[in-house]
Symmetry: C2
Subunit: 430 residues, 2 copies
């Protein structure tokens, strides 16, 4: 039997929206938003899209009209009653009332602010200007929309069975990775793949496959909407935007020098427990750890992001030991360019030496490499980053200069202040 109402509803869609909920975003955005809401809601921050994979000319693949329709649709979204109830009533990392009533009330009234879109050299220049608390919310939906519109552009015109086989191949690939994960003891891995996903439905599939395939080894998903619908844990902590804005707002080099630790001070006041995970690489991990106050070593864990994972993990272990901490009680979260071989390698290397967790992104939710001709569905390295705060340029150095951002004279100043010497460039896959 055909469900007539569903069919009619579907064929009357003006568009098929990519982002259908305020909660179709990463959990860490809400955690960061709450801190911004409490402390910095009047700071004005500009975010901008940056496609590091220059050879993929998004503006040639994605229709501007369709992109505007999708972005406009996001601007029409409001937190629903059930979503608000979930934020109020659910436990996150075992804790109730993670979000204050004031913050949730703000989120209930939140509408996405306007965007600025133009084309330049085959790429979209897509920026968001306004109060930090509003513009920060655009990062994930903007990236998810660009990635999914690209997928739709490539799959348009494919036959029904050709499409089914495309997804059959992608499913098989994910499942084969899951079968490898099954062989790892004491695994703890989460989906971090919202921003770079092939599409919403696909991420939803991947999360459910992980739930069935590895059971309790699957910690949860960064995607709030999927966590809500699939009754999974919502996971995540914070990102580079916090130190980048704190640093941009510093009036002097001395203030700049301590900005990354001020982020942690504020965060510590706002959150505790599993959420106290250091993200040390914004201006170079080694310097950050060397100059960190002792209380930072008391935090739960560290996220090893832009550094080689083995090197970064070893550095953390040595640092904890030097600060009188027992690494076995500490947590290291790996989240950069992970794929199954790297996960297995890291897991084997550190097993039993500290607690480890994985935040698996692009190559979980968008591994369509080689599945269509010319690699047209291979994932691209696209980000949405802070460009400026209150009119001052924002800078990121990272442990990998390929990922550095900001005007070059500012980059040089930051390198001097943070004592960052020569860095080895590593190609960014995803």
């Amino acid at each position: 039997m055909v469900d007539i109402a569903t069919r009619v509803y579907n064929h009357n869609w003006k568009i098929d929206p990519i982002v259908r909920s305020v909660l179709d975003t990463d959990f860490y955005k809400l955690l960061m938003a709450q801190t911004i809401f409490r402390r910095m809601r009047d700071v004005r921050v500009t975010f901008g899209i940056h496609n590091r994979t220059r050879e993929v000319r998004l503006a040639d693949i994605v229709d501007e009209g369709e992109l505007r329709e999708q972005l406009d649709h996001v601007r029409s979204l409001r937190l629903t009653r059930g979503e608000s109830t979930w934020l109020r009533g659910n436990t996150f990392y075992g804790k109730r009332q993670m979000f204050s009533p004031e913050f949730i009330a703000w989120l209930e009234g939140f509408r996405f602010p306007d965007y600025h879109l133009e084309k330049r050299d085959g790429q979209y220049v897509l920026t968001f200007e306004g109060p930090w608390i509003e513009t920060t919310m655009w990062e994930i939906p903007a990236l998810a929309i660009l990635n999914e519109l690209r997928s739709r552009g490539v799959t348009k015109g494919m036959g029904k069975f050709e499409l089914q086989v495309l997804y059959a191949r992608a499913m098989t690939r994910v499942w084969e990775k899951i079968e490898v994960l099954r062989g790892l003891d004491n695994l703890s891995i989460a989906d971090f793949g919202t921003r770079r996903r092939h599409g919403f439905l696909w991420q939803d599939w991947c999360v459910q496959a992980m739930m069935e395939g590895i059971g309790s080894s699957f910690l949860g998903t960064s995607n709030c909407l999927i966590a809500l619908r699939r009754e999974a844990e919502a996971v995540g902590t914070n990102a580079h935007e916090l130190p980048m804005v704190y640093a941009a707002l510093a009036d002097t080099d001395a203030q700049l020098d301590i900005a990354p630790y001020r982020v942690l001070e504020d965060w510590q006041e706002d959150y505790e427990g599993n959420l106290r995970v250091i993200l040390p690489d914004t201006y170079g991990t080694t310097g950050f750890l060397a100059h960190a106050p002792d209380w930072v070593a008391g935090w739960t864990g560290i996220r090893v992001d832009s550094k080689d994972p083995i090197e970064g993990g070893e550095e953390a272990i040595q640092w904890w030991r030097a600060r009188g901490q027992d690494p076995k009680e500490k947590l290291a979260i790996f989240s950069d360019g992970l794929d199954i071989d790297r996960i297995v390698h890291i897991h084997r290397h550190f097993s039993g030496r500290m607690r480890i967790g994985f935040g698996w992104g692009t190559l979980l939710t968008n591994d369509f490499r080689g599945l269509v001709a010319g690699g047209a569905l291979d994932p691209i390295s696209i980000v949405c980053k802070v460009i400026s705060a209150d009119g001052r340029p924002a800078v990121k150095l990272s442990d990998n200069p390929t990922k550095a951002m900001g005007p070059s004279e500012e980059v040089e100043r930051y390198k001097r202040v943070f004592g960052v010497g020569r860095q080895a460039a590593v190609p960014v896959v995803v």
Copy 2:
């Protein structure tokens, strides 16, 4: 939205039937049935299931109660009005009114006769006794039921995503074969996979994938129901049961000797055009061709079944030449144990030398080899063959002694009468 009615209908099923239509059978059964109806409707023929893959103990895998339920369900089927209309109104091989009004009237009243079922040595002994015209109809549904119940037995208890990935893998495998077929010029290939299919839905998928994937190179399907629903050609001609029964009914060795040609005489009277395809191997191809009357060489083509396909095709070419025929105007249909490599090999070998066609069975509709542990879904070599006609044992020699059937003293007599010497045994894969 949930389609409530469909869900309620589904969860109220007493069983989930495997065979849901009288037309869920191979087209050649209807062609043969019409000839039987015209000429031999009072002959009593016993059919029996034979599982050549002894190591797969079907009676341990397939529940007897479920098997009886499925067989009983088939006994409740009647040709529907729409199915009857299709048989009356459709063209087959470009011809209208392939079936006489009398035969269709008979088919409208047809009910499957009773069956006899017992277990022996881990196998089911499943036999059908009665008028040939009725028992012949059991071959395909009985095989399809046994194969699908085995599949269901193996897949029972698998997780939802594990199952989805199982089918994703199988789909990918079929599609990769289709991609190879696309590279073959002037290909003509049909689905012959009803009897050994993994399941009905799976065969239906494979047929549709072939339709999309190779377009007009896909000649059609042997399955009448799928041909009807998917608006594909229904294809097929005849099978070993005709010469086997004709031979069994022969009173003398002299009558036995000419029985295979009598089949063709009758068939020629009943059908013409593309349907005049010789199946020469029942009692040895070489002897059959050597002793064939000249008018047999005037037929459209030959089916190369149990013989090595290259050898069998070359033999046909030489025979046509010797009989003054132009092989380029002839058709050879290959249908034995085909898989993609063999298809490509045969196609390359005979391309341009004669018209060729492929009837692709088990490894199109049931290639789940290695997809579950222990090869539990690997296809088995199971057949439903004539055991006796009017109380006399039926015999098949074939070009491959592994496929021979009948009491050994009768086999010896047939070999003597048909002048069949030593034959090389070839393992039967499927």
